[in-house]
């Protein structure tokens, strides 16, 4: 007589169906309460009235509060003490004329190429790239404003907030750093009353003095490593600016 060995088949549970199984076996009395509260409003109710309900990490609150989106934040130009140094953006005939000249430098079907020259033109005249100017550039080139925004937010050469009347760009790359550019930056900040403090060099590199007259920024390699340390003051290039010459440099523009 042969014995048949029965091996029990392992029970495989499809875990994705687990909740369904539980739901079915639940007693019919446990009917979920109907929702009377609009769930999108729940967060505010919790925040306001039932403090014990859930502990909220303040660092996470931005998920809960309707704040401007990342995109909106990037388009907005925050006010700085330097804002009054510049005229607000306005479409002038000279600007239009210069823009048309720039656009003509590229093939007719490739107007988008002029986005950098146009933004330079705006920044040169109005100090920084404002949301209105982004709209104007987009309109001028027949492209969506987002295509201008992506360019503005990528290039460190474009700024979205007003700098001071004198904008110092100190080179911080190797040769200049060896020549003392960190000290130069510290000296300029000391003399102009700028607190670089928590300046995030990547997202918000510009620090403006409270009086709005000066601003500083670190630049990456200004290509004059042999005469380190170097800096740009607005569009003027200065070489061999040792930290002790900072006073002289500022006086040159103040006088």
């Amino acid at each position: 007589m042969s014995t048949r060995i029965v091996v029990p088949r392992p029970r495989v549970i499809d875990r994705s169906r687990l909740s369904y199984i539980r739901l079915r076996s639940a007693s019919p009395l446990q009917v979920p309460r109907p929702r009377l509260i609009d769930r999108s409003q729940l967060i505010y109710l919790t925040l306001g009235k039932v403090p014990q309900a859930r502990k909220i990490n303040p660092a996470h609150v931005h998920y809960l509060r309707p704040e401007p989106s990342v995109l909106e934040k990037n388009i907005l130009s925050p006010e700085t003490p330097g804002t009054e140094n510049f005229e607000p953006f306005a479409i002038t005939p000279q600007l239009e004329q210069e823009a048309d000249r720039r656009i003509a430098q590229y093939p007719d079907d490739q107007k988008r190429s002029a986005v950098l020259p146009l933004l330079h033109e705006v920044q040169h005249r109005f100090g920084f790239i404002s949301p209105e100017s982004i709209d104007w550039v987009a309109q001028k080139l027949d492209i969506a404003p987002i295509k201008v925004v992506e360019v503005v937010t990528f290039y460190p050469g474009f700024r979205q907030k007003a700098p001071g009347k004198l904008h110092f760009r100190v080179c911080r790359t190797l040769s200049c750093a060896m020549g003392g550019s960190y000290e130069l930056m510290a000296k300029i900040c000391e003399l102009t009353g700028i607190d670089r403090g928590s300046a995030d060099t990547h997202k918000d590199p510009i620090s403006v003095s409270p009086c709005g007259k000066f601003s500083v920024e670190y630049a990456e390699c200004l290509a004059s490593c042999g005469t380190a340390p170097v800096c740009l003051v607005n569009d003027d290039f200065h070489e061999g600016v040792l930290p002790e010459k900072a006073q002289e440099l500022i006086a040159q523009y103040n006088g």
Partner: protein, 466 residues
């Protein structure tokens, strides 16, 4: 050349051989077209326009000119890559986005001798059949952009640009396009994207070789400022004569830019491979600063691998291999490649024994973390990680394990990205760890129990009761 006098204190060194920098720091020199023409300028243009375009390309091929932007690719061969059956317009782009740390040669050409560049560009455009050319100039050269635009207007007034140049039937327009302070725009496909008005995310090669699919998907030649200037001199001397300058396979002259801890930093135009590190650093640059000794040299811009001054290298293959000390290394493309580094863009950065390598490494990693365009994950994330780890080494909170981590990150970026930026950011880190491992490990401590502020905060939050 004997009748040229230079500004006092700026005279070229006896080892120099000036072609491109002939007019830099010259007494009585200015950027106007009259000065340039009086000095024999635009003569080669007349000669070139009388030649067949093919003949100019052949002349450049014979000269063996290698690109001076960093990769050292032969210029004549690059020009030959334009498809012969091409129907689209051809573009020529001058890459004046000189942003490799340590390099400052193009600055002097565009600021002091813009017409030399324009003449070189007209000749090159004629050779490759381009009727539109752009000079992509970095944003940090605002003066140079004005100088170049003025020079272009002057040239146009003399019919050296525009329609029917010098009655040869050849039309060319040159425009100046300003960048916006992004290092990645020095990469040729990144530059093209930027010129198209987009973010400069480099394109992958293949298939996007600029010579076939470049600007607006048309054939495009991108050349460095210095390479384009050399074209004028190749035509003047003839390719056969030019190739005699320098050493075989490394012909011509090139500009070495020395910065850092030397007595007299500066630019030197020398025949490629004719000058060794000893001659360059001791004779031409006046040696180390008083009481100091040379420690390390970055030979070709900050993305090339660092060399130690007491190293020696095996150069050559098989039986011909020779031991050469660092000081006897000639600065040419092939020898430096054999020594494990590269000639790059000619930016020599010198460090003496007062420099801590962790500080240098930290500065370099900050640069690459800032300049990564963010297209490829290994580079975008890796460059920031390298920055963070090197920050730890620098501020003394690192463990010996961190040096290993840093090395691992670098090897995981190397060769895994669309463009050469990945290598550019990884090589200096790899080399720095390879050559100064003991020094870097010495800055770390076993006792450090790394917990960043972020992590501590997280833990604090997690430990609170809900």
């Amino acid at each position: 050349m004997s009748d040229i006098t230079y500004l006092p204190g700026k005279e070229p060194h006896a080892n120099e051989h000036r072609l491109i920098f002939k007019n830099v720091d010259r007494q009585g020199w200015d950027t106007s077209i009259d000065t340039y023409i009086k000095d024999g300028g635009y003569e080669m243009l007349k000669k070139g326009l009388g030649m067949e375009p093919k003949a100019i390309i052949d002349e450049v091929k014979t000269s063996g000119l290698r690109g001076r932007g960093g990769a050292g690719f032969p210029t004549g061969i690059k020009w030959g890559f334009i498809p012969p059956d091409n129907q689209k317009p051809v573009y020529l782009i001058c890459n004046c986005d000189e942003s490799e740390p340590g390099t400052f040669k193009d600055r002097y050409i565009v600021h002091q001798d813009p017409h030399q560049l324009i003449e070189g560009m007209i000749l090159s455009a004629f050779a490759v059949g381009a009727h539109t050319a752009y000079i992509y100039i970095r944003e940090e050269f605002p003066e140079a952009a004005i100088t170049l635009e003025k020079a272009i207007a002057e040239a146009r007034a003399k019919n050296l640009l525009g329609k029917n140049i010098l009655s040869s039937g050849f039309d060319l327009e040159i425009y100046v396009h300003r960048g916006a302070a992004a290092y990645i725009c020095g990469e040729e496909t990144g530059l093209i994207e930027s010129l198209e008005g987009k973010r400069p995310y480099p394109r992958i090669k293949p298939p996007y070789f600029p010579a076939a699919m470049g600007l607006y998907m048309a054939p495009t030649i991108v050349n460095n400022v210095e390479s384009l200037c050399h074209v004028v001199h190749i035509l003047r001397m003839g390719g056969d004569e030019y190739v005699k300058l320098g050493t075989p396979r490394n012909s011509g002259t090139r500009i070495l830019c020395v910065s850092g801890d030397v007595k007299k930093p500066g630019y030197f135009e020398v025949q490629v491979g004719k000058v060794t590190f000893r001659e360059l650093l001791y004779e031409m640059c006046g040696g180390p600063k008083d009481g100091r000794e040379f420690k390390a040299v970055i030979p070709g811009g900050s993305s090339s691998k660092v060399l130690r001054c007491e190293e020696s290298f095996k150069i050559g293959r098989g039986d011909e291999a020779k031991d050469i000390t660092f000081w006897d290394l000639p600065l040419d493309f092939d020898t430096l490649a054999a020594a494990g580094s590269m000639a790059g863009s000619g930016g020599v950065i010198v460090m003496d024994d007062s420099r801590r390598m962790s500080w240098v490494l930290n500065n370099i990693t900050h640069f690459y973390a800032h300049e990564s365009c963010g297209q490829c994950t290994p580079c975008r994330e890796g460059s920031t990680w390298m920055k963070k780890v090197s920050d730890r080494i620098e501020d003394g909170s690192a463990t010996p394990e961190d040096v290993k981590t840093l090395e691992e990150i670098a090897y995981q970026i190397d060769g895994k990205t669309v463009c050469a930026f990945g290598e550019a950011s990884a090589w200096p880190v790899e080399a720095m760890i390879d050559k100064f491992r003991e020094e870097l490990v010495g800055e770390t401590s076993e006792k450090n129990d790394f917990k960043s502020a972020e992590r501590l905060e997280q833990e604090k939050f997690l430990s609170t009761s809900f």
